[in-house]
Amino acid sequence: MSLLTVIGQLMSGMGMTCAIFFLTLLFSLPLGLVVALLRMHRNKVISVITRVYISIMRGTPLMLQVIVVYFAPYYVFRVQISQSYRFAAVIIAFVLNYAAYFAEIYRSGIQSVPQGQYEAAQVLGYSHSQTFLRIIVPQVWKRVLPAVTNEVVTLVKDTSLSFAIAEAEMFTIAKQISSKVASIWPLLAAGLFYYIFNLLVVLVCSRVEKHYSYYKI
C-alpha cells in the first residue's frame, strides 16, 4: 500500500466520522428537547414511557444499540439488510442515544429556571408557547452549554463505536490499514485526528459560551 492510498483512505474515514458527528448533533439536539418535554409531560403514561426509553438508552452500551438497530430489520422482520442501511443504522442509533442524554440535560436546565420567570411572562400576556420559546429556552440553552459541551466531546470519540458494524469511519479504516501494513502509525494518526477534532469542539463551544456571557442568570 502506498502512502498516498493510506492517506486517501484515512481522509475518507475522516469524512464519514464528520458526517456521523454532524448528523447526530443536527437531529439529537432538537430531538432531546422534545424528549425532555415528553419526560415532563403531565400525562403519566407518556412520562413513564419516556423515562423507560431514557433509562435504556443510558443504561446499555451504545455499541450494542448500534448493532441492534442494524440487525433488527433482519432478525425481527426478516427484511434483507441493504448496504446503504449501514450508515442509516449508525445515525439512528446515535441520534436515539444522544437525544436521551441531551433530554436529561435539558430537563435539569428547564427545572432550574425560576418559577417567577413563568409567572412574570403570564402576567405580561405571553402565551404558553411564547413563554417557552422566548423566555425559557434561551435561558435553558445558556445553563446547559457546559454539560452539552461534555456530551459533544464524548460524541467525537463515540463515533468510533460504529466500527461494530464495520461502518467505514476513521477508526474502522485505521484499524484495517494498521493490520494490513502491520504498523501502529495508522492508529496513532487516527488518535491525533480525534484529539484535534476535540480541541476544535472545545474551542467552538467556549466561543459559544462566551457569546452568551453578556448576561448572568
Binding site: E119, A120, Q122, V123, L124, Y126, Y215, K216
Partner: protein, 251 residues
Amino acid sequence: MNTYLQMNHIRKSFDGNEVLRDISLTVAEGQVVSIIGPSGSGKSTLLRCATMLETMDAGDLIYLGQYAARDEGGRSVYAPPAELRRIRKDFGLVFQNFNLFPHYSVRKNITEPQMLAGRSREEAEAKAEELLRKLGLSDKADQYPCQLSGGQQQRVSIARALALEPKILFFDEPTSALDPELTAEVLRVIRELAKQHMTMIIVTHEMQFARELSDYIIFMEHGLIQAEGTPAELFATDNQRVRDFIGRFQA
C-alpha cells in the same frame, strides 16, 4: 366612581391548609389599598389569586364588572381562556424579586410585552423611552438586568408593567428584597404613581409609607381580614393585635 376590582368571599387551601378564608375586598378607580399583616398570613396568596397566578377554590373575582371567576355553589368557576386573556390586560403585577427577563436588555424587557400585545416596534420603543425617562433610567436602556442595582431593577419592572397601561397595578412587597437606601427610590416612584391616581394594591411592611399613601388599609392574619379602614381609623384602632403589629414595624 367605578369599581375596578371586586373579590367576594375568596377561599384558597393548599393540601387542606386553608390559607384564605372568606376574604372580600373592593377597590375603586384611583384608590390605593395597602395590605399589611404578619408573614404567612396569606397576603401573597391573595395577590396571586387576584392576578390569576393561583386558582381560587371559592369566591368571585371581578374586574371592571367582568367576571374572571364566578362562585357557583361554593366553587369558583373561571371564564373561558380567551376572556381571561382579555381580563389580564386590566392589571399588572410587580414582584418582590422583580422577575425581569435576564437575557433581555432593559429596553427589550419593556418593549417585547407591548409588541406581543399588538403595538408596533416604534410605539413600543417610544413608550419604553418615555417611561424610562420618567423613572430616571434613560441611560440604562441598553444594559442587562444583572448590571443594575436592585432598586434600578425594581424600577424597570415597574416600567415594564406600566408600559402595558394596566388599570390596576399590584405590588407584592416591592421593597422587601432591597437595601434600605434603595427602598426610598422605589417608594418615590410608587408615590408618584399615586399622585397620578393610579389604582394600586400594595402588600407592604413599610408602615409609614402605607399610612401616608393609602386610601384604605387591610390588616390580614391567619387568612382573614382582621381589621380594615382608612389609615386614620386603622392607626387609631383599639384592636390589640393590629396595634402590636403596627408598633413592631414602626419601631
